[in-house]
Point group: C2
Amino acid sequence: MSLERLRTLVGEIYDLERVGFLLAWDMETTMPPDAALARAEQRATIGRAAHERLVSDELGRLLEELRGEEESLPYESDEASLIRVVRRDHEKACRVPAELRAELLREGALGHGAWLEARERRDFEVLRPHFERLLELKRRYVDCFEPAAEPYDVLLDDYERGFTTAETEHVLEHLKRELVPLVEAAREADGDELEGPFPVEGQRAFSVDLLERLGSDSRSWRLDHSEHPFTASLGIADIRLTSHFRETHLGGIFAAIHEFGHGLYERQISPSLARTPLAAGASAALHESQSRMWENLVGRGRAFWRFAYDDLRRALPGLRDVEPDRFFRAVNRIRPSLTRVDADEITYNLHIVLRFELERELLTGRLEPRDLPDAFDERMHAYLGVDVPDARAGVLQDIHWADAGFGYFPTYSLGNVMSVQIWEKACADLGDLDARIERGDFADLREWLREHLHRHGRKLTPRETLVRAAGSEIDPEPYVRYLKGKLGEVAGVAVS
Amino acid sequence: MSLERLRTLVGEIYDLERVGFLLAWDMETTMPPDAALARAEQRATIGRAAHERLVSDELGRLLEELRGEEESLPYESDEASLIRVVRRDHEKACRVPAELRAELLREGALGHGAWLEARERRDFEVLRPHFERLLELKRRYVDCFEPAAEPYDVLLDDYERGFTTAETEHVLEHLKRELVPLVEAAREADGDELEGPFPVEGQRAFSVDLLERLGSDSRSWRLDHSEHPFTASLGIADIRLTSHFRETHLGGIFAAIHEFGHGLYERQISPSLARTPLAAGASAALHESQSRMWENLVGRGRAFWRFAYDDLRRALPGLRDVEPDRFFRAVNRIRPSLTRVDADEITYNLHIVLRFELERELLTGRLEPRDLPDAFDERMHAYLGVDVPDARAGVLQDIHWADAGFGYFPTYSLGNVMSVQIWEKACADLGDLDARIERGDFADLREWLREHLHRHGRKLTPRETLVRAAGSEIDPEPYVRYLKGKLGEVAGVAVS
């Protein structure tokens, strides 16, 4: 009886959350611009309705009543998992006073506006008052929870439950140590770029066909246009990818493959978890492990382009004279650059290391916001050898810091690391994946991912989920090995 | 203080309602088909969240506290109107027990499925058990309210607040008496049809341009495709029209103009009413008066095609050899046909008369559901001279009866009647509209409609709103006069 009522309540919370995703998806893909104000109100109302249910006394009582049932059931049963995960969500949500939550939302919205203006004027000082206030609010947020080894643990836990700052630091320090020297090596072996234009319609048509070959179908998937590519899962059978195709480069195709990885994760969650808070990816990093796996390990591999290059050339006849090997090297080109979202596989992680370090220092007060732009520029030079021309291209490049998103950045690199751990396990289990990929057969890989990772949804913790899929705890070494191999292959640089 | 809290509460109700519209719009235009089940849950959850707020004790208390304030303020002030209209919505909603409401929703959903199957099998018997249950539930619904002159009054009030069955009957009987003979006259003068194909892309491009000339803009309007055309207003600045262009006829263009009329009504509601339940059309009939006015009085007029026909021919070169006069007569052709939604201006109303009569007889028990198909077919023959080949083309043609929508049909004809009353008043105030229309100038008409009708939203009752716009209570005579004139012009039939 209590369990049934719990299912009803969390079903509503799940519906409201996904409706919120539709409001966001529609805003980015479809909505007429003058509807922005009304849309902000709608999103706030839906968010409040979901939050009210999550912190409700009724939910708290139900969870108490269900303690016995939870303990009597196997840990991995749908029911015990549901009670356990909802309890944790409820307890976390209850710790934050409504007033602080509202202030964070409000200041985040103001920060977003200030960020746009600061970018326009290429001046961090425009954002700084909001940034300082957000930092202060985030400190108050941290204080709502049990003291952790360091404050950053609390923020990280929102995206990567149970992961500590210390182990994240261990992984990122390892990447920094290994990758900074690789950047130097790559610079010396820099090859040439593909020359456009690449007609947008050809890229879109190619991507639509490709996504179908990878495993999407029009009964439950869509591909639309948005300024920044993203995936919205409005339900297990309502997976919406977006990309942005540009004439000047092929990034939109890789973005579509990347988003397919996110989409497939959501699509392959066990139907028995539908309409519960378990019907989502286990964590931000595990989600990213899937998008990165499809984008890079599948989509930037030689085998993949043996399968797909003829089709691409048909869609983009301008590639007629570009030999496959040159194409492969061009789409895997390693070169330090200013912008995180455009970075190659190796340098991407250094953008993350830098942001992770700065966030921690800001949170503990070792770094003052006023000193942030200089610190950002200095580290861009030190880790990437890149000189930042102005704040817009530098410290103001991402939205996350204007949006109360502290703690999110490291999950990108954790996801990269996990992607290779999981990939290697899949290869060990399935045998030669390259041969399958070369003939456009992705079914075994999809099924393996479903069985070992996707179907669990949020049942297990991120750590448990990773161990289940990869057979080991997080370990940056396979990823570093993979990157070195890639660099050797692409740039002819031998790295030990 | 109470008023502020009222605004907050009804703002949330409004948000939830409009989010519900987005869920419906997306379902009809965009959603992948396998998402249907999840979408049904989402819509139910949003509907419940809105309803809970509307019937909440808090809202009831607030409305009590605000009685003094309401009485001290002018009747037409935003504040007094808000309190008055919300009170009525609250009281109506509170009268229906949650259980009955849920049963109506559930049986409506089941009825929808059964309707699809019954259509497939062309057999009303498949729908009948649901139909009987819905009828019974609707009788229980009627019993929740104060006894009215007849039960149908209660159903009509949901769409046309304050309008009685008696006055609706008066209007529809008048139409029947006047129009049945016209159908005969038209049949004898039947002219020829336009011959396609009319390429869909040409129709769409023409319609997009046309909507802009009429007064839409891409900052707050969209035009999309759906099976059945409709308008969703997701906010005063988020107006979404749909149409369905087909190669075989030009109905999609007229549907786009029709939906523009609905959209303009919502777009021109006073911004001071935004995010309140007053930010909507005054009634179903008044809404229809606006869509019909733009579709028929503007869009099927000679002046309009003097303005637009060159553009249409450019978009559809197949019309090259169709002289303007022949085009005008063809798009105004009067001919009895089986299907309500495809009917011409005159016979449309007889489809409505028939349904209105049958609904009333069913509700009072004078007609048994098992006898409905025969009664439907008999009246189709009697009023329209049309023989119904099977139930799919006959009694199963509309969704409304499978969906608990009794009481809605008559508002279509009431809207037709109102459209001419309002149009004549606009012409009297503005002088020659034809000259403006012929040069593509719709601004004065839009402004007149804003000032005299649209801006009021739901502040006033439908009756008050009509009197404000048209200067008189409902009166079918201007509409009949207009139809006779149209028939004379199109078919060369002199009618007195």
